[in-house]
C-alpha cells in the first residue's frame, strides 16, 4: 500500500506540474471569468429592479379613512425623502377573509410577502412582525402615522410592537435555498472538472509511456495519481476562481448574496461542501478515467464525453428533485445512491443539523470511489493491456474490494 501511494504521488506530481506549467492552464483559470463578467454586467442592470422588489411591504389593517391618510402621508413625505425611503404600503383586503384575520397568520400565510402588519389606529398603531423587520420599520411607521393623523404635530405616536418568532416553516424554506445553491455550485464544479479526466490516459497510451508505467508501478497507482493530480488542480482552480469572484463582487457587485444560514452552520457547511465536492469528484473521475482508459483515440474520448455529461445531468436532476422533499423516498434514494449522494447530503446539511449521517455518507462514498477505481483498473488491465486471468495476485491495499483483480 505504501509503495502504491508513493508511486501514485510520483504520477500525480508529474501530471500536476505538467498541467500547471502549460499555457492551456492559464486559459483554464480564465474560463469561468467570461460568464462571471456577463453575470456582473447583468447584475448591475438588474440592480434597480432588484431594489424595487426588495422594498419591504407593510400590510395595513385599519379602517379605510385612516389607511387613505396613511397612504397620502407616505406620498407627501416621499417627495422629500425619495421614492425608496419608505416601505411600500398595501391595504390588506379584508373582504377576502370571513373573519378579521390574525396579523400573525397574515405574515406566514398570505400570498403577498408582508414584512409587517400595521393594525390598530393612527393614534395607537400596532406593528406585528419579526424582530428584524420591526427594528427596521418601527421609526418610519411612527413617522407616517404621526404625519397622517396630524401633519403639524411633532409628537409621534408610540408604536406598540408585537413580535413574532419566524415560523419553523419559513426557515426551512429558506434553508432549502441554501441547500440548492450549494448543490448547484457543487454540480457545476464537478461537471466542469471531472469531464477533463476522460482524456487523461490518452497521452500515455498514444505515447506508449504506459509501458514504462505499467512495468514500474501498479496500475492502481497510475489511476490514483492521475485522479488526485486533477483534484488538486481543481482545488487550485476553485481557490483562484472564488478569490476572483470575491474580489469582483466586493468591487462591483451588490455584496455576497444573503443566503440563510444552513442548519449545521456555515463553517461545517463549507467543510462538508469541500469534502462532498472531493467525493463527488473522486467517484466521477474514477468512472470517467476508467471509461476514458478504454478509448483508443482522442476521437473516441470526445464521443464518450456526451453520454458522460448526460449521466451527470441525470444524477443532478435526481438530487435537485429530492432536495425539497426531505425524508421522502426520492430524497432518501438520492442520499444513498452514490453518485447523487454528495449533492443530496449537502442539501441535507443545509436543512438538518444532524451530523452523524454525513460521516456514514462520506465513508460510503469513499468506498464506492475505490470500488469504481478498482473496476476501472481491472478492466483496463484486462481489456487494454490484455493481462491474463491466471496467476492471481493478491492486492494488499484493495484486498477487501478486489474481486477479479
Amino acid at each position: 500500500m505504501k509503495e502504491t501511494l508513493r508511486a501514485a504521488f510520483v504520477i500525480g506530481r508529474r501530471d500536476f506540474t505538467a498541467i500547471i506549467f502549460s499555457k492551456a492552464f492559464f486559459f483554464f483559470l480564465l474560463g469561468p471569468l467570461f460568464p462571471l463578467v456577463v453575470a456582473l454586467i447583468a447584475g448591475n442592470l438588474g440592480k434597480e429592479l432588484a431594489e424595487n422588489r426588495d422594498t419591504p411591504v407593510i400590510g395595513v389593517m385599519m379602517d379605510e379613512q385612516q389607511a387613505d391618510q396613511l397612504i397620502k402621508a407616505r406620498e407627501t413625505l416621499s417627495k422629500q425623502m425619495g421614492p425608496n425611503y419608505f416601505a411600500e404600503i398595501k391595504l390588506v383586503d379584508i373582504d377576502n377573509y370571513d373573519a378579521l384575520p390574525d396579523p400573525q397568520s397574515l405574515l406566514t400565510n398570505s400570498d403577498i410577502n408582508y414584512a409587517v402588519i400595521l393594525s390598530g389606529s393612527l393614534e395607537k398603531p400596532i406593528l406585528t412582525g419579526t424582530e428584524n423587520s420591526l427594528r427596521q420599520l418601527n421609526a418610519s411607521v411612527a413617522l407616517l402615522s404621526g404625519y397622517a393623523s396630524n401633519a403639524q404635530s411633532t409628537n409621534l405616536p408610540a408604536v406598540q410592537t408585537n413580535r413574532v418568532k419566524s415560523s419553523a416553516n419559513r426557515v426551512k424554506d429558506l434553508r432549502q435555498t441554501t441547500g440548492q445553491a450549494g448543490m448547484i455550485i457543487l454540480f457545476m464544479l464537478t461537471t466542469l472538472l471531472a469531464g477533463m479526466v476522460l482524456s487523461n490516459l490518452v497521452e500515455e497510451k498514444s505515447n506508449k509511456i504506459i509501458e514504462i508505467l505499467a512495468a514500474s508501478i501498479p496500475m492502481d497507482a497510475v489511476f490514483i495519481g492521475k485522479i488526485f493530480a486533477m483534484l488538486v488542480m481543481a482545488f487550485v482552480g476553485i481557490i483562484v476562481w472564488s478569490t476572483m469572484a470575491y474580489i469582483g463582487v466586493s468591487i462591483w457587485g451588490t455584496g455576497i448574496p444573503n443566503l440563510p444560514t444552513p442548519a449545521v452552520g456555515w463553517p461545517i457547511f463549507l467543510i462538508l461542501g469541500v469534502i462532498y465536492f472531493s467525493m463527488s469528484y473522486l467517484m466521477l473521475a474514477s468512472l470517467f478515467l476508467g471509461i476514458g482508459a478504454m478509448a483508443a483515440t482522442v476521437r473516441e474520448v470526445q464521443t464518450l464525453s456526451m453520454p458522460a455529461t448526460m449521466l451527470q445531468m441525470v444524477v443532478f436532476f435526481i438530487a435537485i428533485f429530492g432536495a425539497n422533499k426531505l425524508g421522502e423516498p426520492i430524497e432518501m434514494f438520492a442520499s444513498i445512491f452514490p453518485f447523487s449522494s454528495p449533492l443530496a447530503m449537502l442539501s441535507r446539511a443545509a436543512q438538518v443539523d444532524i451530523l452523524w449521517h454525513h460521516g456514514i455518507a462520506i465513508i460510503g462514498q469513499a468506498f464506492f470511489a475505490i470500488l469504481i477505481l478498482r473496476i476501472g483498473v481491472t478492466m483496463f488491465r484486462r481489456n487494454v493491456m490484455k493481462s491474463g486471468s491466471g496467476n492471481k495476485k493478491k492486492h494488499k491495499f484493495f484486498g477487501l474490494l478486489a474481486r477479479n483483480a
Binding site: R6, E211, I212, A214, S387
Partner: protein, 311 residues
Amino acid sequence: MNAIEARGLVKIFDGFRAVDNIDLLIPEGSIYGILGPNGAGKTTMLRTLLGIIDPDEGERTLLGSNDPLSQSPFVGYLPEERGLYQSMKAVDTIAFMGALRGMPLNDGREKGRILLEQAGLAHATDMQIKQLSKGMAQTVQLMGTIVHSPKLIVLDEPFSGLDALNQAKLERLIREQAANGVTVIFSTHVIAHAERLCENIAIVANGKISFDGLVETARDRLRPQVHLETEALDGSWRKALPDGTEAEGNWWHFELPETGVEPLLEALIEGKAGIKSLSIERPGLHDAFVSIAGEAVAAAMDEEISAGELL
C-alpha cells in the same frame, strides 16, 4: 540465484497462443539474448516476465519474487515501442523514470545530468523531448532505464532504430553494466548482436523456446564445416569424404567427420587429391539458429534485417 525463472508460461491473445508453455531460467550476472523473428512472442514473453501483464497459465519469478512489480526498484526496462512525455525536459524525464522506480527526484536529476554528459548529450539536458532527434530521445530513454542502477536490465529490441555508431555505444554500455555484475537481458532479431554480446541465449519461435543455453552449446550442436579445394576431381580419396558432401567444381563442402581431421588428411595425401586449400570453420550462431529454429524462421529473420536496412 536466477534473475528470472519461468515454468509453463502461457499467454493467449484472443485464442492465439503468443507465449506457448515457456520454461526459462536466466542466471544472474550474465548477458542473455532472446533471439527470434518479429511476432515470435519475444515482447509478450518479456512483458509477462516483468509483470506488465499476468500470464494465463504458469508461474514466473523475477529476482526471486513471484510479484514482479515488487522488484521494481531493482529492474530497468526499455520497451520495444519507445515513448516519452514530449514536453518534458530530458533531465526531468530521466529523473521521472528513476522516481517511478523509487529514486528520489533530485538524485535522479543529478544522476541524469551525469549520464547525459557521459553520453555526449550535455547540451540536451534542459531541452524538451520533442526538440530532440529520435536517436537522442532513445538515448534519453535508455538513460532513464538505468538511472536507478538496477540489478536487472531488460531491453526489448534495443538496437533497432540506432545507427552503427550508436549500436556500438549501446554494446559498450551493455558490456559495462554486465561487468558491474548487472544481469542484462535483451531481445533481438539480429543474430550478430546476440553472437557478439551474449553468453546465453534463448531462441524463440512461434511462442516456444526452441533452444536455451550457452551460445557455445548452440554452436556445438553443429559439426564444424570443412571447405576443401582439390586439383584432382576423382580418386580413392573421395571415399574419405563423408556422405552428404556438396560438390561445387573443385570445391567440396562437408561436415567434419566424427573421426576428426587427421584420417581425412592422410586419405587426401595418400590419394594424391592435390589440396589447393583447406579450411575448417566452426559454425556461426546463424548456422546454429538455422538448424535449431528451422530454415523458414531464419529466412524470415534475414528478410526483416534487409528490410530494416532499406529503411
